[in-house]
Amino acid sequence: MLLYVAKRVAYIAVIIVVMSMLVFAITQIMPGDVARLVAGQFASDDVVEAVRQRLGLDRPLVVQYWDWAISFVQGDFGRSLIMERPIAGVVAEALSRSAVLAAVSFVLVAIIGIALGVIAAVHHNRPIDHAVSIFTYVGISVPEFFWGIVLILVFAGTFGLLPAGGYVPIGDGFWSWLSHLVLPTATLTFTLIAHVSRLTRSSMLETLRSNYVKNARAKGLPERVVLMRHALRNALLPTITVLAIDVGWLIGGIVVVESVFSYPGMGRLLVFAIERHDLPLIQAGILIVTVVYSVANLIADLLYAYLNPKIRYA
């Protein structure tokens, strides 16, 4: 198991290094002269040249990458060209806001998704099963930004219960802060539940047909014990994998949902950076989100290995 963990960690580390090179390379071939962008459209060539030297853009690419990577590891992400602020602060702020969205949605997806999957499997081919299928099918068939807008229409517009978007720091009032989270997390949860509940349902159905469940029933164990102790525990293994995949979906969903609800998190920041061609911000933003994603996948992998004795004892 320890060897497996070491291998996985080393592998992810290599992947992250390669990704950082890819991100750096792609942003290098972006059209538009960064020095010209910083100096302003009407700056003279001398000024542009001076800016180029100040930013170190005249050095060989390999040197630039090395410098960038080293300071990145040290937590210095450079300065945003547009906002004229150190990126580390900007990103930390945005990331913490996105993390709140992600964490709440993830917990809701896991709990509601697994519960719906189990309910559907237990009531296999009965009306409740079909109702769950239709509910999740609708969630998966429509993009999150559409659900976001529908929720705004219903809860912010028609009933006027919740704010249509924006963000309030928790210091300015807990309830106000919370009310700004409800619609974005509801949107994310609804679009992600389908994967979890469908997979839980099908793996639950499979384990319910297995011999050890039949055996548990034959022993005369109460149905609740059979379901929770024997069936669900084994059925959850694939669910954990799909939850990890959902982290990727969650990050994608967050980019979109933050735009819908004008929520000032990492997703909005990235879209803003790309629109404005803010090179250092794009590089840092994409790399940080990807590292978060890789680490989440790593944790899911290790968790899966830990829970699956076939791998644990291999």
Binding site: P143, V255, V289
Partner: protein, 288 residues
């Protein structure tokens, strides 16, 4: 080898097997969407970009059946014409994924050693990006447009196709008819193209058909973020994005294209799942 006979025997189609009902239902829905996309401007009451300035943000009426947007453009016409953009996004992106992914998957599955390993590690790197970020990263390079978004989405889903193709190829490479072909001294490319590929299609087709909806949704999300189709195009994602500031005054602006997308995606999903039931022998066994 697949059993059964008839023209589709190679794809694993068994004439004795019942055609799944969701294949029929999904196929009909998809058929309607394809017809709408093909006819597009011909059946739309107005040109998709014609502005009726006196009729801005009007609700559904006899003149404008599904209302108008902030420039007085007919929402019904725009949605009908938008069908072709959405289908283009779905099918062009998936075609690109298949065109790039299948050859790479064949190599990765058949040529063991450095080449195959390199392909899979490269795919690992691509898959380490969250899909939408990879799309944004690719699109950050140049001014956005619909076809560039389609290329980006196609690249995003290459690894999925590579993985499916590789796993089928790995299985087939051990089959007797492949060993026989190699024993005959057939060249590698002949074995791959003439022996393995024709038998590898069913799972690839199933995976690709399910990818189409992912491509449509991801493409719409990119357009929604302003990184795909550009105004005045009537892409559904862009239409919903345009509708955001007017959602309370003119909800039809978002609801109509959203519903159209929902119908399209459900149709293609049903079709893909029906296809899986038809082509995947494992699935058929589960059903019985």
């Amino acid at each position: 080898m697949p059993e059964g006979s008839g023209p589709f025997a190679r794809l694993g189609f068994d004439a004795r097997r019942e055609v799944p009902s969701n294949l029929i239902a999904g196929g009909s829905v998809l058929g309607v969407v394809v017809i709408v996309a093909a006819l597009g401007p011909a059946i739309a009451p107005y040109p998709f970009d014609e502005m009726h300035i006196r009729h801005r943000l009007e609700g559904p009426s006899l003149e404008f059946l599904l209302g108008t947007d902030q420039y007085g453009r007919d929402v019904l016409s725009r949605t009908l014409v938008g069908a072709r953009l959405s289908l283009f996004m779905g099918f062009a992106a998936t075609a690109l994924s298949v065109a790039v992914g299948v050859p790479l998957g064949l190599i990765a599955g058949y040529a063991r050693g450095a080449g195959g390993e390199l392909v899979m590690r490269a795919m690992d790197v691509l898959m380490s990006f969250p899909p939408i970020l990879l799309g944004l990263l690719i699109l950050a390079l140049t001014p956005p447009s619909l076809w560039k978004a389609a290329v980006a989405v196609g690249i995003v889903y290459v690894p999925v196709i590579v993985r499916v193709t590789r796993s089928v190829t790995l299985g087939l490479a051990q089959e007797e008819f492949i060993l026989a072909a190699r024993a005959r001294g057939e060249r590698t490319w002949y074995v791959l193209l003439a022996e393995i590929l024709p038998n590898a299609w069913p799972p690839i087709i199933v995976e690709a058909s399910l990818r189409v909806t992912f491509a449509i949704l991801l493409g719409a999300a990119l357009s929604f973020l302003g990184m795909g189709a550009q105004p005045p195009s009537s892409d559904w994602g862009l239409m919903i994005s345009d509708a955001r500031p007017f959602i309370n005054e003119a909800p039809w602006m978002a609801l109509v294209p959203g519903l159209a997308m929902c119908i399209t995606v459900v149709g293609i999903n049903l079709f893909g799942e029906g296809l899986r039931e038809l082509l995947d022998p494992r699935f058929a066994r589960w059903r019985s």
